[in-house]
Symmetry: D2
Subunit: 342 residues, 4 copies
Amino acid sequence: MFSNDYLSGCHPIVLDAIVQSNMEQTAGYGKDDYCERARLKIKEKLQKKDADIHFLVGGTQTNKIVIETFLRPYQGVIAVETGHIATHETGAIEATGHKVLTIPEINGKLTAKQLEAYYEAECHNHMHEHMVSPGMVYISHPTELGTVYTREELKAIYEVCQKAGWPLFVDGARLGYVLNERISDITLADLAKYTDAFYIGGTKCGAMMGEAAVIMNPHYQKDFRSMIKRGGGLLAKGRLLGIQFDCLFSDHLYEDICYEAVRYALQIKKAFEEKGIQFLVDSTTNQQFPIVPDELAKELQLAFGFSLWEKVDEKNTALRYCTSWATTPNEVLELIGFIHSL
Amino acid sequence: MFSNDYLSGCHPIVLDAIVQSNMEQTAGYGKDDYCERARLKIKEKLQKKDADIHFLVGGTQTNKIVIETFLRPYQGVIAVETGHIATHETGAIEATGHKVLTIPEINGKLTAKQLEAYYEAECHNHMHEHMVSPGMVYISHPTELGTVYTREELKAIYEVCQKAGWPLFVDGARLGYVLNERISDITLADLAKYTDAFYIGGTKCGAMMGEAAVIMNPHYQKDFRSMIKRGGGLLAKGRLLGIQFDCLFSDHLYEDICYEAVRYALQIKKAFEEKGIQFLVDSTTNQQFPIVPDELAKELQLAFGFSLWEKVDEKNTALRYCTSWATTPNEVLELIGFIHSL
Amino acid sequence: MFSNDYLSGCHPIVLDAIVQSNMEQTAGYGKDDYCERARLKIKEKLQKKDADIHFLVGGTQTNKIVIETFLRPYQGVIAVETGHIATHETGAIEATGHKVLTIPEINGKLTAKQLEAYYEAECHNHMHEHMVSPGMVYISHPTELGTVYTREELKAIYEVCQKAGWPLFVDGARLGYVLNERISDITLADLAKYTDAFYIGGTKCGAMMGEAAVIMNPHYQKDFRSMIKRGGGLLAKGRLLGIQFDCLFSDHLYEDICYEAVRYALQIKKAFEEKGIQFLVDSTTNQQFPIVPDELAKELQLAFGFSLWEKVDEKNTALRYCTSWATTPNEVLELIGFIHSL
Amino acid sequence: MFSNDYLSGCHPIVLDAIVQSNMEQTAGYGKDDYCERARLKIKEKLQKKDADIHFLVGGTQTNKIVIETFLRPYQGVIAVETGHIATHETGAIEATGHKVLTIPEINGKLTAKQLEAYYEAECHNHMHEHMVSPGMVYISHPTELGTVYTREELKAIYEVCQKAGWPLFVDGARLGYVLNERISDITLADLAKYTDAFYIGGTKCGAMMGEAAVIMNPHYQKDFRSMIKRGGGLLAKGRLLGIQFDCLFSDHLYEDICYEAVRYALQIKKAFEEKGIQFLVDSTTNQQFPIVPDELAKELQLAFGFSLWEKVDEKNTALRYCTSWATTPNEVLELIGFIHSL
């Protein structure tokens, strides 16, 4: 129930749009009107007309295709050690010939300071041609640990990237969960301004499946569709993705349903806090990582779903509770009641 | 209207199943009950319990992941020159480090005789280690040109493959359109028997999207899920694919809706024939390739959709008319009337 | 004896230089004075100070590293069907993720007209993103069949390349054999002017091993050493290559020893011609391809080495006779005598 | 002078053999008698007739080709963080599509205990298909830090590998420096027994260039030459490598000249120790890593070559002093005198 944010299908409004359009006949591969309409709606929020927007099916696919597009063969991508591309993509990045150059995470995040130091070291690296050269930077917002960047932090990272000549790519698999000023001051327009590319996650944020890749840097826009096709990511009935993003970007649906999920997550967080339970990090989004004694973990397991995140020490384990647009008030109330009763 | 077989969404029965299950919560990545049920139904038709069945999103993805699984790094895949992997996948196979070794097609097909000759030549190739070694064989059934293999032909190809030590992989993007004894005597059980792997196409045969890869050779079954994930093909909400194949493989839906489409295609074929129009090949499936004078092509364009296939000579062009499960009797009647009126 | 042009070690002058310098201690990886001196001598002949010159060990290595440097992931390299990269490199190009896009050869050569037609077709290719895009052009001078380009032909090819935005790369594995105005009017300075990169072959032209890659297009010069290292082509004792090219580019050694070999080859050609024997192509360089009845081939085999090139028909085979800097007048006389005696 | 072990050409005996054979004509690509003779001599030392031995030009090349041969696409290679493939090969391994899975080094070495723990974790990894699977193990003997394995340690590692189904590959770029019982009890026969493959380094151990890859596991012997050609590592005049290994494996030349170098290194080590200087690790081979104050480093720089290895802290730096077969007694005496005078 709380084990991840892709347990259910899609938001009913999205589903309805798919159903309504089912028998229509449209051009394939994302060249239909639905995709075009979705692109226009997204561009409006980006406040950039020259954004290049493509709909792909999943996150690993999107990450690998963008990264392969951005790097020269001898370059690698900088990411934190907990970055999705560094851990849970079965070597999809290496499959494209590139190393993931990892930096220790700080609350799941990369800092401009770390990046600056990396850049300085690289400038004086006398082994340059014997080593993988950093060629771009990858961060997630929110991070794998549910933490968020501020606009200042993003801007600072982007500035180092600009100086170093490294394009910046933001993985937004859960972007919906931070598009509210109470959670992060970074808007879609900021992402358009301070990145070279990012993606707007659909799969975990109300869609059946699908991610919208936004390529801002014109240098990488050319023939990106060829990259998608080669990478096995060009959906024949591309309109399915366009329809979903068209819905999600109408009437603030995307932001609203995700923010609701965050509110639930913060209620759960509070319930654990009131029991004196510590957290792995101070997450303010839809993922919460309470650290509980192993016995308590077993007890919790009897009642509600969660993910085992990692053993923290001999006797304690960090759990992950995840809410989504599909989480109901009753589910949350029940869980909170159970926590109080422990 | 007749330009391709992925113009519409999915068959209403499939859609209904997706709608009904939308709010259920299930495990991700194909580990849900719907996928399991679909696997069982397919296995029943295969008459093989040890088949390894995986649901992927699209055809290019499926082709590249299976082929990369089957080949050693220095090997290539044998295909006819018109094979989908040789022409229309933007180098997806080469992206995995492998060459497509092409052989001229005969009515879109590869023959056992050609393959035997290729094998003989390879056995006496004194440049062996300077050349890409053939490592597997890829055919499509039906072919890109709508032609079909007979069981004898398939068996003969498989026998050469067995002798040569080359696994045989059949691309079944349009498999539904040949699963009827009036079209081809090859059954699913035959495919299970005479191939090392094949896939059952969903995207072009009634599903919203999705292909069912069937790995028969146990040698390649191990860790195929890791290959899918690495290739960007593991759908988070994998059940979406399972639900669709569960429907399609209930009550002969898959075979029935596709056969209906073939019947329409043959009616269109007949109408062209009655006008004395020749065809690129003698297709007996849902794709028909009449060769028409360029002026006539323009006239046809005013009324109904089709694809421009290829210029045959200075003055004539081969067109492709495609039917699908979504084609209606009225559309066909109208087109036939138009042809008669020419 | 005439089976190929890499039977012997290296020219005695080159050997002597290696011996003389053996106990010197120099920096590794091509950063020594010998390499620098060789680069300067080559640049002088190129009449270009901004050429970027790198010494690699072998041809396949050089081809694969240059091609991977020039292409974007979704692009392929245009070559004739008999091109070395298309036939005899065991998929080294595909190993870097790229398709070799072949065009039929005309006397082993590619023509500007063919290339123009390819470009035109590409401009109107409505399947663009579903197909590998041509991204560069590869030719060999002399070709695999010993034929040569003229300056006009090279210039015309380069002009199409410029228009199409395709860098031009010339494989010069046997370049020494054409650097004489009696054979081809293309000079090293012309290659510097009308290509984006080329390589000067050492292995088959007097060196023990080694090829000098010349990158003219500044866009691809950056970090080429990283590409070499990644491709496994950066020789630790790089000076070994520099010493050899330093020798070969002193006192016209490179051109002179190769031209001598061509003169021998033309004598052998004349002897066959006088016997009324036909040739596969009209080669004017160190490789000659007489077509002889199979029985005669057996007879020739008793006396001198050659390569079996290809069966021309049921009863005749094309042979390859190859001379090199190491061929002696006596060997040639003996062979000619034998031919006359047939 | 002491900055690395590839400053000079090759041992005079090796050079002489190259000179003597220069004008001979032999088959190419390692199919000559010299290579065959060298293979026999090596096999004798291995006490294994079924070893498969190939001569390649350099270490990075050898590592990447062996590793690509051993792994399935979704697998990675386990190595310590200081492993050459993890640091100084510009992503050559990633270029073949594989991740290097790093484990912290203990004195430059990997322990069986670490490996056992890694294996245990992998066995219980519920994220298996979302992560790169370990597929083989890479160690260096001696290590990058000059430390050595004992036979017991090697055997213990091999046993874990056997249990886990991971082939073991030993990088022997400096193998000559440990083939003496006073340094390590591991013999060539032990390597043949307790590994799936290893290579005998020539470049740093008396040869001009060249490494002898020894494939013990029959499963990987098939078509290894195709892998070499594809990887750009098949030298046209392959005999050059055979001649060198033939010499090096006659009359204990390989072992003797390397042991001499180690003796010099240990004298240098002792001189530093007598000055109370600490070392980065306790190396017993031809590389020594004294940690000296930065000012002293500057002083040393005036007199003799060395490599700056790494900053140890604000004020101290680890240097690398390297001896080789080319080091002379006088050079060593002079350096020692200088150290004493500090």
